[in-house]
């Protein structure tokens, strides 16, 4: 849900990276953070377990600049992918304006990808949000793995029509900026007051 402030002249939008554990959500966010100029990004916060797994969320704000006299900001989050942190994942999705679903292209992860998507879908339903109406992009990460899932697999399994799809190798940055650019574009294109 966009945050609009007339008095502060601010518009803040929330985008979350979700997907199964170890699919590359934090890797995506970290790459975006490194790639941005210092003056537009805030500090990257990661709330992790001792094993460097996302426990609650990773977060940093992007100060986009002025649009029509309003300071536009995107708050970027990742959602924990591990199943035992599903409650935390749900909390982070509240108020989200757009999502990037980061799928793991390794063929043995197909089931995890599908299960994770269903969990995200159900979590959004708990906030009365239909995932099909939310600005979203699908990223097939880890395209450098052996026999990656063919693009189109998840779209067919999950009935995702017309969702923008990106192939990525997030550890190298491949496809990462294209993904965030597209999801933020869709959020803006559909922005309503």
């Amino acid at each position: 849900m966009p945050y609009l402030s007339y008095s502060n002249r601010e518009i803040t939008l929330k985008v979350a990276y979700c997907g199964p554990a170890m699919s590359g959500k934090t890797t995506n966010l970290s790459y975006v953070h490194r790639a941005l100029r210092p003056e537009v990004k805030g500090e990257l916060f990661t709330l992790n377990t001792d094993q460097e797994r996302t426990l609650f969320f990773d977060f940093f704000p992007v100060e986009m600049g002025q649009a029509q006299g309003y300071q536009l900001r995107f708050n970027l989050y990742t959602v924990p992918g591990q199943k035992n942190y599903e409650a935390n994942s749900r909390l982070v999705l509240e108020g989200v304006d757009g999502i990037v679903f980061v799928a793991d292209s390794q063929p043995e992860r197909l089931g995890d990808n599908i299960e994770s998507y269903r969990i995200v879908q159900n979590n959004l339903v708990s906030f009365d949000v239909d995932i099909n109406s939310l600005p979203a992009v699908l990223q097939y990460n880890k395209r450098d793995c052996k026999d990656p899932l063919p693009v189109g697999t998840l779209e067919k399994e999950l009935g995702l029509n017309k969702i923008p799809v990106f192939e990525a190798v997030a550890v190298k940055g491949t496809g990462v900026m294209e993904t965030i650019r597209r999801v933020t574009q869709i959020v803006i294109e559909r922005f309503q007051i």
Binding site: Y3, N8, F45, Q68, N75, R181
Partner: protein, 131 residues
């Protein structure tokens, strides 16, 4: 003091916050409050309306203001916690009334030309999220 939304956005600040990363603090406090709300639900409470974090020198009192906002008070003298709670409760009541009367969204709606806003915003996206 900070007034933040449940989505983790700072609405207003008061006092010396120059040493704080208020953007990050708002996001983290909102996350903390969301988590404790779920804990409350698990133990059978509708919610915990107050959080108190005790440090060595600085302490934080977080209280709900209405349903969507939180008041964060950072203070140093732990002996003042009773007074902090009292004033936070009073301020919360006044803020709830004030925010109920707010027409922020209507004012933004009246001022923002959506097609132009989208045009400028998309140009910003192209510039900032370059591959």
């Amino acid at each position: 003091m900070l007034l933040i939304t449940r989505q983790g956005i700072t609405i207003a600040v008061a006092g010396d916050t120059s040493y704080l990363n208020t953007t990050a603090m708002a996001a983290l406090v909102a996350g903390m409050f969301s988590a404790t709300k779920e804990v409350a639900r698990i133990v059978g409470e509708p919610q915990f309306s107050i959080l108190l974090q005790q440090g060595e020198k600085k302490h934080i009192h977080i209280s709900l203001v209405g349903e969507q906002t939180m008041l964060v008070v950072i203070f140093e003298d732990q002996n003042r916690i009773g007074m902090i709670r009292l004033y936070a409760r009073r301020v919360a009541g006044a803020l709830v009334q004030s925010m109920a009367a707010s027409t922020e969204i209507e004012q933004v709606s009246g001022e923002l030309l959506l097609p132009k806003f989208r045009e400028y915003a998309l140009a910003l996206i192209d510039r900032i999220f370059q591959a």
